[in-house]
Symmetry: C2
Subunit: 149 residues, 2 copies
């Protein structure tokens, strides 16, 4: 119970790495990679977004996002549309298929994890829940402190 932030930070980092490695396999199974799924998720839930904004949200440089969006568009999951007011912007819209695939992908990807979560007893699940909430706080504080846009 030592208040050792370094150790805690390190454990958290390691746990996050291994968690994602597990989940990557599920992503592979459904045929959409983690970065694409994550970007698609933003587009679906945060409505139409410009490419640059999407890149910033995903903590990625614009060229990278250009390619991800191109991939999503080729699969018919999103649309590119020129902004009516500003010709430089391209708005990324989710297609119906995009929403469908996202739902399916989430379900599939989360299934393994959800199963493991479900196996936890009530107390642990509650602990995990508040831990995740703190983690989100942590993320947004780091985002602010290191040049956002």
């Amino acid at each position: 119970m030592s208040p050792n932030p370094e150790k805690l930070a390190d454990q958290l980092h390691s746990a996050a790495i291994h968690l994602l490695r597990h989940l990557r396999r599920e992503d592979d199974a459904i045929g959409i990679s983690a970065p694409r799924l994550s970007a698609l998720s933003v587009v679906v839930f945060a409505g139409p977004v410009t490419l640059g904004r999407l890149a910033a949200t995903e903590q990625v440089k614009p060229p990278t996002m250009t390619r991800i969006v191109t991939g999503l568009e080729k699969d018919g999951l999103v649309d590119r549309r020129d902004d009516a007011n500003d010709g430089r912007l391209t708005q990324i819209h989710a297609t119906a298929k995009g929403r469908r695939v996202l739902a399916a992908g989430r379900a599939r990807r989360v299934a393994t994890l959800a199963a493991a979560v479900q196996a936890l007893d009530k107390r642990r699940r509650r602990e995990l829940r508040s831990g995740v909430r703190v983690l989100e706080t942590l993320n947004s504080s780091m985002r602010e402190s290191s040049g956002d846009r």
Copy 2:
């Protein structure tokens, strides 16, 4: 407070992704990528390891680990040595430089995260700690359920 494992699993996944994206930048700053750092960490702490075992630990296929080890070796962080008893095996040893660099890298990488952790109040820090502990449980349960060896 709804007992919705799917939602919780999804939030966890998203939070983990964004956390690692933050930390990747720190890895870049020190000049060693996350996969290499993670592999090096195993070699340092788990003593000499065969390549195959290292690959399994890192949840990666052997060819991938071959390349990672080659990179580490080129930087003088690990050594390859033939096993005395079994000519097929190659034991991966950490060098003194490897240990040094690992320590430095960990410190640096964890610094940002530790700073954010430190900014949390006591209660949240405690919540995070128990959350991480549950997360570790989660990981090992997933590892067991999907063919580990």
